[in-house]
Symmetry: C3
Subunit: 317 residues, 3 copies
């Protein structure tokens, strides 16, 4: 059971209802059973629903005391006796839908009296802003945005339903310097940050505003913690960027691309739609749409695998 | 035109005036023309001044509607018809100078009533400090410093005209632990952070104070976002450090060195004046003055290029 | 002498007392001498105690004006004339003990009136909380914790005597998304962060709460700046994690393991007790207990050294 100091459950559900919600198949003999909560395989008891998605946890699955479990068809025979099975080819998605049902997002907490909001900022309906957060003049925040504590947001136009975690900094000057005979000259940063709808941005992430063009974060992008996004970067829709990635100025990333953690992308590159980067990729050239790259400098995944195998050999003897 | 919600233009300029300001050459036939604003190549119209500096954007240059443009002499013949040319060998620097003229730095906003400043801190003239920022006892901040919101600054002596972006943490304990028979002992961190004049520090960057010696950031250093600088690090003057670099304790970096993004430097190293590191360098040994290194472990750039070429081959067949 | 604006010394000590405190050996002829302070080799004068631990600084040792110095027996003959020697095989630890004696941790500053603490949070005795820090509902903070300014802490149960540096974010949602036919679904994050006793967490570090299981930081863990710890990560006791490391979701790290700076660990891995990772390791597989690994992908240190030697050759000719 999730800790009630932090989470409020909305009650119990029948397996029939869960099957209807998720599209999972459940045997008629058990569809009247009820579960009171979701829980991980190791901690779930007979009134809990769990999920088995990653084969690494097969042992936890076969030993689990969960009363019910989402599982792929091929693993159903490995289930412990007495466990009610909800058969689905996407157990994680089915779990997510059910967990949302048990634990609906609590209503926003509104605007903290400890937030600092310039008068000329425009906030939509149902916006939450956490304590200590600073919203600059002229900023626009769309309906339903939830902004955590201790963020700073300037020079930004933000769409609807963004989720901004604590300590995010958006809209500050990009790193624009022109070396000249009299030292290093600061280049005025005259663009904005344009954020689409349904974007999520992780704790400690920094997004610089454009230098002249705008920095653009497309609809549905999900950005993890401690990511650095330079000026003029353009993300398409539904781009996924995991922890500690860095994207240098003016690089463009197409719809649905996925960046593995700690990857670094040089400036002025184009990453095609649907491209994937393995974790810790060091990208120095364009990546074509739909391709998977890895390594530093990043190369097609097949070449990278061969390269790694060859390098492992170099260390062996 | 820069978004007037965020930026105030100071009016129009003649090409003659811009040529005088930047040293660019302009044909007599067009020197009376005026421009109202600066804009990137793709968005500039007939009353805008743009710049063409990176050959990657040659197509944008040849198709640009900009009324005037800074350009190197060799690319002048590629300009679209009707564009007035400002010929210079450093278009980016010329643009920076002109953009500063159109958009002079607005005056500082003074000390936010929401900043938290210990009584024994000493602030110079014309200092700005953003909301939520915490300045510790004994800290000295020089004239003209602009410190963003949500920063913490302790144990620090800061020179003049520093620009500190949001969420910067300066002067906290370095990572000093001595493993002993009774566990891990914390080593008191008894030094300070000494920051010279005209330093700029990016959002989310952390600079630990010295352990006994001081941590030193020389005049004119420019540090990007999410950089980690360990205790006792000494940066000379005009060192440029791009995003997400990390410098371990007691490493010294000479004047004018440049560190590519996401580079990591081991502790107790010496990086010579004017040395350059490619992005994602992993530096385990000293780097001589004036040399360019890359790779991990970092090696001279020529060797690194050969190494990369050989590694690419390893992946090919 | 440490800057009195920032540090208060508690007075002088005799070498006899210091020897008793640290277990170092001192010649009878000098054991009545006193020192007034600790100082680094280059800055120490005749009334200061220093330490010589890293052979890189042998020149500084032989030229030091320190009145007394901790040194290993083998280097004693290299000491400058007149320096009183405190012979110990762990000079850094001896220095740490003595520096703590000179500069005892000042008492905590209590709860800042500028902190924002939910009513349902429970704070132990002698807790300090800095300005701007936000403590969420239900959070438990143990006795003697010192939490710096501008931190956010939610969904967390924290043990005793933690030291949390400025700008740390603990307990926010992990990066949990399930891609589905109707877009990217957010997975409710229903776990907590459980922090043991005597933990230290560096500036700007982010620790996400568990997705269902908890995220666990064991007793005595020391975590440096700008580290990213994903949901469900479990650290054993006395794990040391240096700057800018990233640990992806559900990875487990055994007691006493040490992670070099900027290392990245993929998710769902197991790193054994006492394992060590070189800086910038990219860990894609489990690491056995007690082993030292390096490289990306990380391999046993001996193989990595051979690999590096072979790679250096690739660049040479």
């Amino acid at each position: 059971m999730a800790d009630s100091r932090f989470f409020k459950s909305s009650g119990h559900l029948s397996l029939r209802g869960i099957a209807a919600l998720t599209g999972a198949a459940v045997a008629a003999a058990v569809e009247d059973r009820r579960v009171n909560d979701v829980a991980p395989l190791e901690r779930a008891g007979k009134d809990d629903l769990s999920f088995f998605d990653n084969v690494k946890y097969l042992d936890a699955f076969t030993a689990s005391g969960a009363g019910a479990c989402f599982v792929r068809k091929k693993y159903a025979p490995r289930a412990p006796k007495g466990m009610a099975l909800l058969i689905t080819e996407n157990p994680y998605l089915a779990y997510a839908l059910t967990a949302q049902k048990f634990y609906p997002e609590p209503p926003g907490e509104g605007i903290s009296p400890k937030a600092v909001i310039e008068k000329s900022a425009r906030l939509g309906k149902d916006v939450s802003i956490g304590a200590g957060t600073v919203i600059g003049g002229g900023v626009v925040i769309g309906d339903g945005c939830r902004i955590g504590p201790l963020c700073s947001i300037t020079h930004t136009l933000m769409g609807k339903r963004a989720v901004i975690h604590p300590g995010v900094h958006i809209g500050q000057d990009g790193f624009g310097f022109a070396p000249g005979p009299e030292g290093i000259l600061k280049v005025p940063q005259l663009g904005r940050v344009i954020i689409g709808d349904d974007v999520e941005i992780g704790a400690g992430t920094c997004i610089d505003r454009g230098a002249g063009p705008d920095t653009i974060i497309g609809d549905g992008c999900k950005i993890d913690n401690l990511v650095q996004i330079g000026h003029n970067v353009r993300l398409g829709k539904y781009v996924i960027i995991t922890g500690q990635c860095g994207i240098a100025g003016s690089t463009q990333i197409g719809d649905g691309a996925m960046l593995g953690a700690q990857s670094g992308l040089a400036g002025h590159l184009s990453i095609g739609a649907g491209a994937k980067l393995a974790g810790r990729s060091g990208v120095m050239r364009d990546v074509p749409a739909g391709e998977t790259y890895g390594g530093a400098p990043a190369i097609p995944i097949k070449e990278w695998r061969r390269q790694m195998a060859a390098m492992l050999k170099l260390g062996k003897k």
